[in-house]
């Protein structure tokens, strides 16, 4: 009896040791580059610090207080919310439409699939630069179209009223293929039998899509919404190279604002507070969204 127990105990210990050995490298990376930095960011947010000198002064909640009353930060947050809402409203339906089209068309629409997929191959930086010039007032695409029809040059990015919407348009251009692929994967996971059974029972293709496929896609749509929410709130690269947050603060996002405070003006204490604020807001919004989406599921 006793020996059995110690044998089982030894086996358990062996398994634990083995698991530890295999997990160690990943844990080291994750703790060093994810867990510890998050803690350090919150600690840093209580200091006044340029990030380089040893001169690091504890100032309590000063940075957080400043953040609460920082008009620029909240405007940036508002811009993030606009990006989030428009992304959802545009990218989700278009993504589903494109995926539905490709799913219905099968192999003969491969050319559409290939071309539609193209924007996904470009880095956010490349997309940002491409559209910085493609939307330029002189010689840009939109300007040229307008001039073709006898209009004047169009300055989308230089105008405070339109810049953010132009940027969001480009973001949609870049991410619609992603959601297209996402929903294609969703369609692909619906078994062939389901489709055949539906058609055998006399359903038309559109009935199959609306009555059977889309309801089955609901979990995919929900997770796509969460992905899109989180993505929109931490958006950075494309905006930073395309407009740098300007003109004025019209396209400033939380992430570009954080970057400028930390690495351009080297106010890393305050930059940490912004990053911490971002983290809290994103977690909060994601949690609320998950609650709402999953709540509907049980209802």
């Amino acid at each position: 009896m006793d020996m059995n127990k110690s044998l089982a105990g030894r086996r358990k210990r062996q398994i634990a040791t083995c698991a530890f050995v295999f997990l160690l490298p990943v844990l080291v990376f994750m703790i060093a580059y994810l867990v510890w930095p998050i803690i350090a960011t919150f600690v840093n947010s209580f200091y006044q610090w340029n990030g380089i000198s040893a001169d690091k002064k504890f100032i309590g909640f000063y940075n957080w207080n400043k953040l609460m009353h920082d008009v620029d930060f909240w405007r940036a947050f508002g811009n993030n919310i606009k990006v989030m809402v428009i992304s959802l409203v545009v990218q989700m339906p278009v993504g589903i439409l494109l995926a539905t089209f490709l799913d219905a068309g099968g192999k003969k629409f491969d050319i559409f699939k290939s071309v539609w997929f193209l924007p996904m191959l470009m880095s956010a930086v490349a997309v940002g630069y491409l559209f910085r010039y493609a939307l330029a007032t002189n010689g840009g695409l939109i300007s040229s179209i307008s001039q073709l029809f006898g209009g004047g040059p169009v300055d989308l990015l230089g105008n405070q009223a339109t810049a953010l919407y132009a940027v969001i348009g480009v973001i949609c251009w870049q991410f619609i293929p992603f959601y297209m692929v996402y929903y294609m994967a969703g369609y692909a996971s619906i078994s062939e039998d389901v489709y055949e059974a539906a058609i055998m029972d006399g359903a038309t293709h559109s009935q199959y899509i609306f009555k059977i496929a889309l309801p089955l896609l609901v979990p995919t749509i929900k997770s796509a919404i969460i992905l899109s929410l989180i993505g929109s709130l931490k958006y950075f690269d494309l905006v930073y190279v395309m407009t740098g947050g300007g003109p004025g603060t019209s396209t400033e996002l939380m992430a570009t604002y954080m970057y400028k405070n930390s690495f351009v003006t080297f106010n890393m204490g305050y930059g940490s507070a912004i990053a911490g604020g971002m983290f809290i807001l994103i977690t909060l919004i994601a949690a609320i969204a998950m609650k709402i989406l999953n709540g509907k599921e049980t209802a």
Partner: protein
Amino acid sequence: MKEKQDIEKLYAANKRKKTVSWIIVMILAILWLMVTFIPFLFMVLTGFKQKLETIMYGAFHLPEKLFLDNYIGVLTDINFWIYFKNSVVVLVLSLIILLFISACAAYPLSRFRFKLRQPIYLLIVAAMSVPIHVTMIPVFQMTIKMGLYDTIWALIPTAVAFSTPISVFILTGFMEGIPRELEEAADIDGCGRYMRFFKVILPLCTPGLSTLAIYNGVNIWNEFIFAFTLTQSNENRTLPLALWNYQGQYASNTAMIMACLTLSVLPMIILFIFMQDKLVKGMMAGAVKG
């Protein structure tokens, strides 16, 4: 008789309706095709233009003549090749480390029962949605302290660390799908827990690993923010930063920037042409992380 006519009428109307909706769908599909493709065309063609051509004649004017100087200019720029080399080194080393340690971590998570399994798994899932910015300042500090600032070696651990959560997550799912009987057979053959990983599990994971290599490879190749903050000098920067530097140098020369842009996207396009299905599949694997 009348009934039959009615049915035929209805059938014809139905068919017309079907054709009309089909035409509308096709028009929309082609419209979206143009929205996607025209910016690409603009990029490639503008690269063949001379400095002021776009500004003078607008975007839709074909190049006066095939002006190759921009492309040649970029390709003979030693800096471009340094960026390229750096990108390749970072990509290859990061991928090797990333895939190996992720597979290692997925093995006990998918196979063993131990006390900390659930918390570690949850930590990894939670880490998938952490915004990079919240780690940036401490990672910057740490990189300076380790003496890695402004070297390409600074970019490898960040690439590895931020790609691990999704990779471990996907590989854990993948390994759970590998039948246990295969391992038991190896167990009888006297393979220990450690050897089983290398001899049985790892080889069986090749499809999952190659998918992940594509998904993470694209992300690492395109990585901007850490390359931007953790390196400074031209000789230590990666390809996405080449654009940044060209922009600084040739801001008013649209054609030059577009040539550089085209060449930096080219490797991905070539990859796409030769292994489209694999690439799309890789992207899909990444997409299921929600």
